[in-house]
Structure formats: C-alpha cells, structure tokens
C-alpha cells in the first residue's frame, strides 16, 4: 500500500513581499508530492497576497526553482522579490 503523508515546508519572505504579508516566514502544510506550483497557490489565499505578483520567483534550498520542482519535507522555500543589488 502506498502511504502518502502531508509535509510542512518553511516559506521565507523578503523585502516588499514580507511587508505585503506582514511576516518574514511561515510554515505551509502541503500534501506529499507537492511542487513549487502548490506553494505559489497556497500563498495566494493568505491576507495581503493580493500585493504579490501572480508568478513570483521561487527558490528551494537556496537555488532558483521551476514550478515543477517537487518538494521534500523540511525544504526551505523562498519567495524572491525582483532583486535590486548593486
């Protein structure tokens, strides 16, 4: 029997996105096999998410990630606002 269990990932928010959601991190519960796309969908229901763009850049474990990347329990997911270094 295939056992699937939910998982929790940490989502980090920075700069204008942290201001929009009023916090710099949150825990998101996701079904097993969830992808980056599911994180983006999960964020959309949070208060203040209307101030985020519909398709923000996402990093997983410190690297830019595609929408199809699968997540593992304990992954660190970051929502990356338009960068402005230099």
């Amino acid at each position: 029997m295939l056992v699937t269990r939910d998982m929790t990932v940490t989502v980090l928010l920075f700069a204008s996105y942290a201001d929009a959601l009023g916090r710099s991190s949150l825990e998101l519960a996701l079904p097993a096999g969830a992808t980056v796309r599911d994180v983006v969908a999960g964020l959309a229901s949070l208060p203040g998410a209307d101030r985020l763009p519909p398709a923000p850049l996402i990093a997983v474990n410190l690297r830019y990630a595609s929408r199809d990347q699968m997540l593992e329990p304990g992954d660190e997911v970051a929502v990356i606002p338009p960068v402005a270094g230099g």
């Binding site: 980090l12 920075f14 700069a15 204008s16 201001d19 990093a59 410190l62 690297r63 830019y64 970051a78 990356i80 606002p81 338009p82 960068v83 402005a84 270094g85 230099g86």
Partner: protein, 146 residues
C-alpha cells in the same frame, strides 16, 4: 576568487591589492555607491537586505563563471548589507587579467549578473521621510524621463 556579503564599510583599495598580480597588466575596479537622487526623488540613504545564504552562493557562482568565461581567477566581489549613507559603497568588484579587454569584461559580467540574480534588495529612504523598496522591473516614473 573570493566573494562575500558583509556588514562593514567596503574597502575598494584593499580589493585592488587583493587581485593584483605581476603577471596581470590590467586591473579593473568597479564601485557601486548610493546616489542622492532616483527617479527624480531626493534620496537620503539606502538600506540593503539579502537572503544571505543564497546571495553568498550566487556571488560565488558568478565569480566562478567570470573565471571560466574570461580566463582569470583574480576576481573579488564584496556586497554590503545594512543601512548606508549617500556616497558609501554598496558593492565593489575587482578583476585583474594579463590584458585589459578580459579585465573589463569580467568586471562588467560580474556586476550585470549580480544585478540580475543575486537576492539582494534595497529600500530607499527619501527626504520626505518615506521609504520604498526598489523594484527594477517596474516602469520608471514620469519624473525619471528626460
């Protein structure tokens, strides 16, 4: 090669010395500083924030790519985070190479890639007391047009 995200003031001259080699006839130094005006608004200071772990990885990757593309391991990049005054350096890039073309190109590559992909953000402090995160993807305001 060396890259770092730091909270202390940057020392451009020290970076010049760090990349200097007797075999290299050309050294290029790029210094990015906090400007007093942006899009027509008077700026009084700048606050830099980073996703530190990822920013350090991306900076290191850029230095490696510059080395591979332009054939010089003598690349040093430092970016400062925290609150900076006008005129203070936010980023310093030093590159040396046997020849000037590659030294210029390596420095240019490093700053352009840094601006494109390193997760660092800046919040401008304006003379009227307000603060705003800079979004380079946003169209410039009418005030910035010539």
């Amino acid at each position: 090669m060396r890259t770092a995200l730091v909270t202390r003031p940057l020392d451009a001259v020290a970076l010049l010395a760090e990349v200097a080699r007797v075999a290299n006839g050309a050294t290029v130094l790029f210094v990015g500083t906090v400007r007093d005006i942006n899009e027509g608004r008077a700026v009084t200071g700048m606050e830099y924030a980073a996703y530190a772990g990822m920013a350090e990885l991306e900076l290191a990757a850029i230095a490696r790519e510059a080395k591979d593309r332009f054939g010089t391991p003598n690349v040093v990049i430092e970016h400062r985070v925290g609150t900076l005054d006008l005129g203070e350096a936010s980023v310093v890039i030093a590159c040396s190479h046997a020849h000037r073309a590659q030294a210029f190109e390596a420095a240019r590559f490093a700053i352009e890639e840094l601006k494109r992909r390193v997760p660092i953000w800046k919040r401008e402090h304006y003379a009227d007391g307000t603060r705003e995160w800079v979004d380079p993807t946003r169209a410039p305001s009418a005030a910035a047009q010539p």
